[in-house]
């Protein structure tokens, strides 16, 4: 058979009329797709910061995060003053312990003088963690007394959040053993209102949906 004849009859190559129709259809579909792109977004932007921006869902997620951060297990070590807090009522630390420059206490009252690397058994025994302490004096990262709006803003501000990027912030709340210690409280102390898994999920949702402050 002549090669030209083979080409014309091959099912791999559409006839001229069909290819024109397909080209028009492809162009129309591109027009439709681009007409529905989100307002304000740029097709050429390399890294959109938030993949599914939704301010209502973001705020709602942060309120869950806020409930955890303001629970005694988190807030007690993020006091407004230089004295840590204790117990379910977040009273001032009974021994009059003070933050000190590095957050580890001062003189004869350093955190590790009583707090061991682990919880001790029994009611009213000191809870423990190898990193037990407050944020340092030059970056106190106060939770106590902050509104949800204020705390959300603080968490996103590198000048007030321990110089953490969003990624470092997520790593911190996901993996830091001192954060996780909140979910392994000493005997007689309550856990935060969400599980750690739910907390991390809510935190990620807050960020991914726009990191919007309530």
């Amino acid at each position: 058979m002549h090669p030209k004849r083979i080409l014309q009859t091959s099912s791999y190559y559409p006839k001229k009329g069909v290819s024109v129709i397909l080209t028009i259809a492809a162009l129309l579909s591109m027009v439709v797709v681009f007409s529905f792109r989100p307002e304000g977004s740029s097709i050429t932007s390399k890294k959109p910061p938030f993949t599914q921006k939704d301010s209502i869902a973001s705020k709602k997620a942060f309120l869950k995060v806020y409930a955890v951060l303001m629970s005694p297990r988190c807030m007690n070590c993020h006091p407004a003053g230089d004295i840590p807090l204790q117990g379910e009522d977040s009273h001032l630390h009974l021994q009059g312990v003070k933050r000190g420059p590095d957050g580890k206490g001062i003189y004869a009252l350093k955190c590790a003088n009583c707090h061991q690397s682990h919880n001790l058994p029994g009611l009213h025994m000191p809870p423990g963690n190898p990193k037990w302490g407050l944020p340092p004096a030059n970056m106190p990262m106060v939770f106590q007394g902050r509104s949800a709006h204020q705390l959300a803003g603080q968490l996103l501000d590198k000048k007030r959040n321990g110089r953490k990027s969003i990624k470092a912030l997520i790593d911190h709340i996901t993996k830091d053993t001192l954060v996780l210690a909140g979910w392994y409280p000493a005997q007689g102390l309550a856990k935060p209102p969400l599980s750690h898994r739910e907390f991390v999920k809510a935190f990620n949702e807050w960020i991914s949906k726009g990191a919007v402050s309530p």
Partner: protein, 162 residues
């Protein structure tokens, strides 16, 4: 059991620690070694009567497991000075600080850390350092006075030596 290879160094002497690793250091000091100058108060790190030095820090020995002290330098009130003449001990006698005396070894051990870190403490420094050492007799004003006296003794002994 910790095992024979583990030693505790207390007041410059070595002791075998063939005890449970979670035994409170206070138990080891008092019941095994016989150093009874360190007192049992509350057993939960709230009163400071059991304060000893662990590598220079004023730890509460009633909640410190023996395992934490392995390889570290422990000093009790008996080892604070060779002849009982540490500036704080001299000042304590001079000011006649103790009433019942039960909390005094803890007070002195905490004050010793303060003087190491702040040789000329203010009243506020003293309060910050010793507010965790509770005295049921209320000797706080004499404690404060004695620490100032000790700071002066320490200062003059340093200047005499140099």
């Amino acid at each position: 059991m910790i095992g024979n290879s583990q030693d505790l160094t207390i007041n410059k002497k070595k002791y075998k620690a063939d005890v449970s690793p979670d035994m409170p250091l206070l138990w080891f000091l008092r019941d095994i070694v016989g150093l009874t100058g360190t007192k049992f108060g509350c057993g939960m790190a709230q009163c400071g009567a059991c304060t000893v030095h662990l590598d220079g820090e004023a730890v509460r020995s009633c909640v410190t497991p023996v395992s934490r002290a392995i390889g570290k330098k422990i000093v009790t009130i008996e080892g604070l000075s060779e002849n009982g003449d540490h500036p704080l001990q001299q000042a304590w006698a001079e000011v006649n600080v103790p009433q019942c005396g039960y909390c005094q070894s803890g007070q002195i051990m905490s004050a010793a850390v303060l003087l190491q870190e702040k040789p000329n403490p203010t009243d506020s420094d003293i309060d910050d350092a010793l507010s965790g050492n509770i005295c049921r007799c209320g000797t706080y004003l004499r404690v404060r006075q004695a620490i100032h006296t000790a700071a002066n003794i320490q200062k003059s002994s340093v200047s005499n030596a140099s």
